[in-house]
Subunit: 409 residues, 2 copies
C-alpha cells in the first residue's frame, strides 16, 4: 500500500469497454452521427412552447414525474398514442406508452428485460452500430439476416429460425428497423412484414421494432408498424423525437402492454426522463409536428440529392449506393481494395469523419467494403467538399479511381 | 407452440426485479420522495433562461452533445466547476465535470465502473434507499457503518476496514453522503472527514462522495468536500440540481479526472443528457443560483419546523428525531411496538405515504423502528394533517400513545 496516494484504476471492474477518447471538437467535414439540419430546429416554436408550458405548469417541476407518474408526461404520451394510431396503425392507450430518454434508453430497457449472457437474438445483418455494441455488451449471440431493397429477407430469416430450432435455440427476439432501416435506408414491404409476423409467431419469438426514422420517408407515408399488425406484446415498439425535432432533446418512447411494461418500468430507475423536454415537446408537437416534419423531409431530400451528386462527381463508379427511402444517412459501397475501417482513420486525419461499415454489420469483415455517410447536419458546401476530400484520400490510400469509369486511374 | 399467439413473459430474463406497481396518482398526504416546494420553482426565471438560451443557440440542438461534446453543455460544466471551488473547496476543470441525467445516473456510472458481483462496498448503515437497492442489484456485499450526529463513526469504520483486511477483502469504495446525509440529515465533521481520508488511504479504498443535498444546509455553509481535501480520484464526487432547482429536471454531475472519467464516459451510452435542461440550468444558475437557494433554504427550514411541531403535537414522546442540519427529510424513530414497514402499508390505505426505515438501512430489521418523512413538497396543512392522520393510524394499529408521555394511552 503506497504512502501518499494509491491508484484507483486497478480497482475498476476488469471487463469494462475501452476508455472514451477525448473529444476535440467536430472535424471539418463531419459526416457521422445522427445530427440533424441546424436551420430546421424550430427554435421559435420551442421558445413559445417552453414559455406556455412553463407558465401553465412549471410548478409541477417540483415533483419527480410531474403529475403524470413514472411513465412520463401524460400530454406527451397522449400525443404519441394519437400519432401512432394515425401514422403507424398502432392502437395503444397513453398508459401503454413509456417516455424514454431517447430511443437509446428504449434499447437498453428492452435488452435489459429479455437478455441474459448467451441468449440469441436475430437482427438485420447491416445494422445500427449502437444496437450491435449494446447486444455484444449484453453477451448476446447475434444472428445476422441479410437485407435487400424490401428489407430483411424472409427466406434467410426462415432458414435461420429453422436452423436455430434444430439446435434447440429459441431466440429472445428479432430486432428490426423496418421503416428507413439503419444503415440501408430501405423500407420493409407489407408482404415481408406479414411474413415476419408469421415466422415469429410460428417460432414463438417476439419482435423488437425500432422505428426511430419512420417519420422521415420522403413521401411522408409509412407502412403500418409491426406492433400495429400484431396488436400485442409479440411486438415491442420504440420510437424517438431525435430525428424529427432535435437529437439533443433526449426523448423517445416505447410501446408495450402493462404485463410487459411493468417489468420494463421496474428497470427504469432514473427518476424519470427530463421533464422540461417532455413538456416542450408535447406543447410544440400537438400543433406543429406535421408542418415541421413535412418541411424537414424536403430539406433532407435536398441534402441527400447533393450528397449523391457529390459522390457521383467525385467517386464515379467507385461508390455505389441506392437512392434511400428517407432518413439522414446514405449507405455506400466502395471497391474491393478499400478497407473502410482504415479509410475512416486516414480520412479523419484529413478532416473527414465517416462511419466505417465494420461497426454497422454483424460480419465486420464484409463491412469493410461499406461506409455510412450522414447528410442531415452538414451544410451543402461541407457535403460537397467533404466528399471530394474523401475521394482524394481514397485515391491516395487505396488507388481508387477518382471519377466515373476509372478515367483517372 | 400455440396457434394464435404466445406469451412473451416466459422469455424475460429470470432475475428481474419485481414488476412496477401501477401509479394511481399521489396519495392525499404525500410525505415521501425527493419532491420539492412547488412555489419555489423559479418559473419566471426558467422561462427567461429558456428563451435566452434557445434564441442564442437553439440551433445547436441539432447536434448530439450540442457543440460541447459528450461531457455535457460546457457553460453548465463551467458553472459547476466555479461553484464547486467556491462552495466545496473542489478544484477541477470543466473537463473534469460530467453532466449526468440526475445524480442517479452518477450512482449507476460509478457502480458500473467499479462493481462486479461479489465485490464489497462500505456505506453508512442508514442510507438512501436508491443506493442500497442499486448496490444489491450489482450483487455487492454491503457493509454498513453506524452514524451519529457527526456523521459516519470512524471507530466503526476503522474496525470494519481492519476486519475486512484480515479476511483479505479490499472494498471497492466507501460510499458516503457527508453533507446532509440521507436519511439522517447529519453533516460529517471536518475531523471525521480528515480521518476518513486517512483510513481510506491506509487501506487503498476509494471514496464515493454523494453531495446532492449539500447546498441545503440551513446556514448555507458546507464543509469542504472530501474530493476537495483529497484532490484526486481517490474521491469520486457527484452532485445534483434536483434538490436546489427542481427534481423533474434530470440534471446532476460527476467529478473525476480523465483517467477515471474516460472509463466512466465509456459507460454513458445515452446520447447525452437532455440538452434543453442543461442550457436552461446554465443560463439560470449563472446569475440566479445563490439568491434562489438562499430563499429555498428559508422555505425548507420553515417547513421542517412545521413538521417537527406537528410530530411533537401528534406523537409527543412517541416520535423522536434530531433537528436536521438541512435538506428535505426528517428521520424519525418510533416506539418498539411499531413496525414501520407495516405502518407504511396501513398508512397508505389511510392516504398517508411515508418511507419505511427498512428500505433505508443496511439492517432492515433495525430499520423497522424508523421512518423518513419528506417535508419539502407538502403544503403546511398537508404536513400537519398528514402527521395527525399518521399518529391516528399508529395509535390504532400499534397502540402508540397519541401525545407526550403517553397521556392518551
Amino acid at each position: 500500500m503506497p504512502a501518499d496516494t494509491f491508484d484507483v484504476l486497478p480497482l475498476l471492474r476488469p471487463d469494462l469497454p475501452p476508455p472514451a477518447i477525448r473529444w476535440n471538437g467536430s472535424p471539418e467535414f463531419n459526416l457521422v452521427g445522427g445530427h440533424n439540419d441546424a436551420d430546421s430546429v424550430p427554435v421559435d416554436g420551442l421558445i413559445e412552447a417552453a414559455t406556455r408550458a412553463l407558465k401553465r405548469e412549471g410548478r409541477t417541476l417540483s415533483m419527480y414525474g410531474l403529475h403524470s407518474g413514472p411513465l412520463g408526461y401524460r400530454p406527451l404520451r397522449e400525443f404519441i398514442a394519437r400519432k401512432l394510431e394515425r401514422d403507424a396503425g398502432i392502437r395503444c392507450t397513453p398508459d401503454e406508452v413509456l417516455i424514454t430518454s431517447g430511443s437509446l434508453q428504449g434499447l437498453d430497457l428492452v435488452n435489459g428485460v429479455f437478455l441474459s449472457p448467451g441468449d440469441t437474438v436475430i437482427v438485420e445483418d447491416m445494422n445500427y452500430a449502437g444496437t450491435l455494441s449494446r447486444l455484444k455488451r449484453c453477451g448476446a449471440d447475434i444472428v445476422g439476416i441479410p437485407l435487400d431493397q424490401d428489407g430483411m429477407r424472409m427466406d434467410a430469416l426462415e432458414a435461420a429460425l429453422a436452423d436455430l430450432a434444430r439446435r434447440g435455440v429459441r431466440p429472445k427476439f428479432i430486432y428490426t428497423i423496418p421503416t428507413v432501416q439503419n444503415p440501408t435506408a430501405t423500407v420493409m414491404s407489407m408482404e415481408r412484414r406479414a411474413r415476419l409476423l408469421e415466422l415469429a409467431q410460428h417460432h414463438g419469438v417476439p419482435i423488437f421494432e425500432d422505428e426511430c426514422y419512420a417519420d422521415l420517408t420522403w413521401d411522408g407515408v409509412r407502412p403500418q408498424a409491426l406492433r400495429g399488425m400484431a396488436g400485442d406484446d409479440r411486438v415491442v415498439h420504440i420510437g424517438s423525437f431525435s430525428k424529427t425535432i432535435a437529437p439533443a432533446l433526449r426523448v423517445g418512447y416505447l410501446v408495450a402492454s402493462w404485463p410487459l411494461m411493468s417489468r420494463i418500468l421496474a428497470l427504469k430507475t432514473d427518476g424519470g426522463t427530463g421533464a422540461l423536454e417532455q413538456m416542450v415537446l408535447a406543447e410544440y408537437c400537438s400543433t406543429h409536428f406535421d408542418t415541421h416534419v413535412r418541411a424537414l423531409r424536403k430539406t433532407l431530400r435536398h441534402k441527400v440529392d447533393i450528397l449523391m451528386d457529390a459522390l457521383r462527381h467525385s467517386f464515379g463508379a467507385s461508390a455505389t449506393f441506392e437512392d434511400p427511402a428517407g432518413g439522414i444517412f446514405l449507405w455506400v459501397r466502395v471497391p474491393k481494395q478499400v478497407d473502410t475501417s482504415k479509410l475512416a482513420q486516414v480520412a479523419l486525419q484529413a478532416g473527414v469523419a465517416i462511419n466505417p461499415g465494420a461497426e454497422w454489420m454483424t460480419d465486420a469483415e464484409v463491412g469493410r467494403r461499406w461506409l455510412r455517410v450522414c447528410f442531415a447536419h452538414p451544410e451543402e458546401a461541407v457535403l460537397r467538399n467533404g466528399v471530394a476530400r474523401l475521394a482524394e484520400v481514397c485515391r491516395r490510400e487505396f488507388d481508387v479511381p477518382a471519377a466515373a469509369g476509372g478515367v483517372h486511374r
